[in-house]
């Protein structure tokens, strides 16, 4: 039983750690006047005087987009020239065009879906290029949240994107990665620029061992809700996750910044009770999925039923022994709750109902969601929840003292609709055509799950996969690449618009007649809004995929 105690300890420990971190995030991202003058001056040196200028939501969004265009172009060029660039000790050759497009779209959007396999396809130079994106992509998300929070707090001037970006990169991501990277070095991860090494096994066979600057890469992979692995099988690979200890540190690293983002929002809008209510809703949603996943995954795999194999242990296919029995399903839920997408067990080989839990995480995509963007997604649900609650009791819906009207609700619905559309429409298209059918690794309802999972992962900017899917080809690379780009920027820009529109409204003093957003009633309302929207949208595909597989085989 102690093996399962590990689960509440990790989740509870992360929640506790998120509190002081949230205080730090507020200090770093939205300092009070005069608080962080030194850093702001430094960032003005890096970025020029423009960095000191306040932006409205539209300019903020345009700067954000412009920066991402540059990220895309620079990294595309560097990846396309891989075979001509240095730090390539294993002589990796050129990459195919659609794969470059997919990979760059994936890392710019903080998705880190990988249709390549790190140790097979990429030079160290390319790996480090992608590591760069793993630093700045979450910083973009954190900047967006800071701006949304300022708007929600009623500040017309929503900050400066280039200042926020530097604060997030240099004051949040960099120190966090140095600490965790140091721990990972101590934990036994490789950290070298030397190429692969040849070993002669005890039975005299040659074994070529790929390695690289793994510790540096994995630290930012986990902390930035990136999830792009250095090696193909991600954190199941012993070099990316050598021990129980590194697995524990990794799991906490995945979830702690998204959790802290909630407190940061609360501090910026100066409504900590509201933040606490939202935090509890998120924690409840995530915990329910963790409990379900751990339960279903403790059942032995059906594949060995009837064979002369011990039936007392849980499903071990695709799992590593050193992490213990509950670590796989715990990580599977945490990594999809947060749009991280790294894995420490192969999701394709999870028991069917366990495999549904990561999908639900990606469908909801807000508890706790990606760095910054997770709370931005939750903001959309909050606006909608407030609106529905207001309609139900016949009062003018208000959020933080500002009226939520049709304009804001239209944008919110559009953001939610975009996410579900980007999952369901391409999944339907690929399931109906050879593009999808020919790529399947497993047949029947599990095959449908593979397609569904891939587009859920792309649209949620998650990056995990049912990795059996043969997705490194032009249709999959292009389709998921486009989904990732659209599903990244639409749900950032629309909430910026909502916040911008709220910010310019007149603030009304809250009275006994206002709907409070910092009590249990609101918590339940928000919980129900998320559940109903999620269930109404995704129930049919959940039935067609994992539920059908479960009912067919597991009973």
């Amino acid at each position: 039983m102690t093996a399962f105690l590990f689960v509440p300890l990790i989740v509870g420990g992360s929640a506790l750690l998120s509190w002081p971190l949230g205080r730090y995030l507020k200090w770093a991202m939205d300092p009070e006047p005069g608080q962080a003058g030194l850093f702001d001056r430094l960032f003005r040196v890096f970025g020029g005087s423009f960095v000191g200028r306040q932006q409205g939501w539209k300019q903020y969004a345009l700067s954000l987009l412009a920066f991402n265009v540059i990220l895309f172009l620079v990294s595309f060029t560097l990846l396309a020239l891989q075979q001509r660039l240095p730090i390539n000790p294993d002589g990796k050759s050129a990459l195919e065009g659609s794969l470059i497009f997919n990979t760059v779209a994936s890392f710019v959007t903080n998705t880190n879906l990988q249709h390549y396999s790190g140790e097979v396809h990429l030079s160290y130079f390319s790996q480090l290029t992608l590591m760069w994106l793993q630093f700045v992509a979450p910083a973009v998300g954190l900047a967006a949240l800071a701006a949304v929070a300022r708007g929600a707090a009623g500040r017309r001037e929503m900050g400066n994107f280039f200042l926020d970006l530097q604060r997030a990169t240099f004051l949040v991501m960099l120190p966090a990665c140095l600490i965790v990277g140091f721990i990972f070095v101590l934990g036994g991860m490789p950290m070298t620029l030397d190429g692969a090494v040849k070993a002669t096994t005890l039975e005299g066979i040659e074994q070529v061992i790929s390695r690289g600057p793994v510790a540096a890469f994995v630290a930012v992979k986990q902390l930035g809700t990136n999830g792009g692995g250095f090696f193909g099988p991600n954190s199941t690979h012993p070099f990316e996750n050598p021990s129980f200890f590194t697995n524990m540190v990794s799991t906490v690293s995945i979830v702690v910044i998204p959790m802290a983002c909630v407190w940061m929002f609360g501090r910026i809008v100066r409504r900590m009770r509201h933040a606490a209510v939202v935090f509890c809703v998120m924690l409840a949603l995530m915990s329910a999925r963790i409990a379900t996943a751990v339960h279903y995954e403790s059942a032995p795999t059906r594949a060995f039923a009837g064979l002369a194999v011990e039936q007392t242990t849980g499903n071990l296919e695709g799992k590593e022994l050193r992490f213990g029995s509950a670590a796989g399903p715990l990580w599977a839920v945490v990594t999809t709750s947060t749009s991280n997408g790294s894995v420490n067990a192969m999701h394709d080989s999870l028991n069917p109902m366990t495999g549904l839990m990561p999908m639900i995480g990606m469908w909801l995509n807000e508890d706790f969601g990606g760095v910054g963007v997770g709370f931005v997604n939750m903001f959309v649900y909050i606006v909608l929840g407030v609106f529905v609650a207001g309609m139900m009791v016949g009062r003018t819906p208000e959020y933080l003292g500002r009226r939520v009207e049709s304009h804001e609700v239209k944008l919110a619905v559009l953001a939610l609709f975009a996410h579900s559309l980007f999952i369901l429409a391409p999944a339907a298209l690929f399931a109906a055509t050879d593009w999808g059918v020919m790529a399947l690794h497993n047949v029947g309802s599990h095959g449908f799950s593979e397609i569904l999972y891939e587009f859920s992962s792309a649209s949620a900017n998650n990056g995990s996969g049912f990795e059996g899917l043969g997705d490194n080809n032009v249709p999959w690379n292009v389709a998921t690449g486009l989904v990732m780009l659209l599903a990244r920027f639409i749900p950032i820009i629309l909430p910026l618009g909502i916040a911008g529109s709220l910010a310019v409204k007149k603030s009304a003093a809250e009275s006994a007649g206002s709907l409070g957003v910092d009590n249990l009633t609101f918590g339940i309302m928000l919980f129900a809004t998320i559940l109903f929207i999620g269930a109404l949208t995704f129930f049919p595909v959940a039935i067609l995929g994992p539920v059908a597989e479960h009912l067919q085989f597991m009973r």
């Binding site: 036994g188 690794h441 597989e549």
Partner: protein, 185 residues
């Protein structure tokens, strides 16, 4: 337009700091405090030849060695991966049936589950203590060693990964096999 110019400036600044400086710093730290693991936890034999990594499984098929968990990539440490097969897939059952036959497992003496299940990266260096004890008789017989001696070695090498949270004890297969070879001499 202004945004693009600043964007390019910041792209350069961020590359210089979070890629070049950050990587260089961690490389230096790793080289100073953990040079062995930083190079991939490589193990060498008495002649100084690299025989593998203590973090990675390698292929063992001879009866005198302990065998690791199945690998979907045949223990290829430069193209790792899992089977990605669903538990409901017949392929997984067929593969496990072959493994069961190789071990000669029977219903009375069923195979420990991890010996039939491929790991996530195909490189899991461990098996359970039970999985090693299960193979002890075969190894002892093939080596002409006393079963008690082999079993004692397993118990000596096994450890609880995760301390109190560990569901059971594990053994590193390569290290166990190296210890076996050392025993012989």
């Amino acid at each position: 337009m202004k945004s693009f110019v600043i964007g390019i400036r910041l792209a350069i600044v961020t590359i210089a700091i979070v890629v070049v400086s950050y990587t260089a710093l961690l490389l230096a730290v790793a080289g100073a405090i953990a040079p062995q693991t930083a190079q991939g936890s490589l193990l060498k034999n008495a002649e100084g030849i690299i025989v593998g990594s203590s973090l990675l499984a390698q292929k063992f098929t001879r009866p005198e060695y302990f065998w690791p968990r199945p690998s979907a990539v045949d223990y290829n440490a430069s193209a790792t991966g899992g089977s990605n097969k669903s538990p409901t897939s017949g392929d997984l059952t067929d593969r496990a049936a072959k493994t069961v036959a190789e071990y000669g497992a029977t219903r009375e003496k069923p195979l420990p589950a991890e010996l039939a299940a491929a790991s996530g990266g195909g490189m899991d260096p461990h098996i359970t203590e039970a999985g090693a004890l299960y193979q002890a008789a075969r190894v002892a017989q093939a080596r002409g060693a006393a079963l008690a001696e082999v079993e004692a070695l397993i118990l000596k090498q096994s450890f609880a990964s995760g301390g109190v949270f560990a569901p059971g004890r594990l053994v590193n297969v390569l290290e166990l096999n190296l210890a076996l070879d050392a025993l012989k001499k």
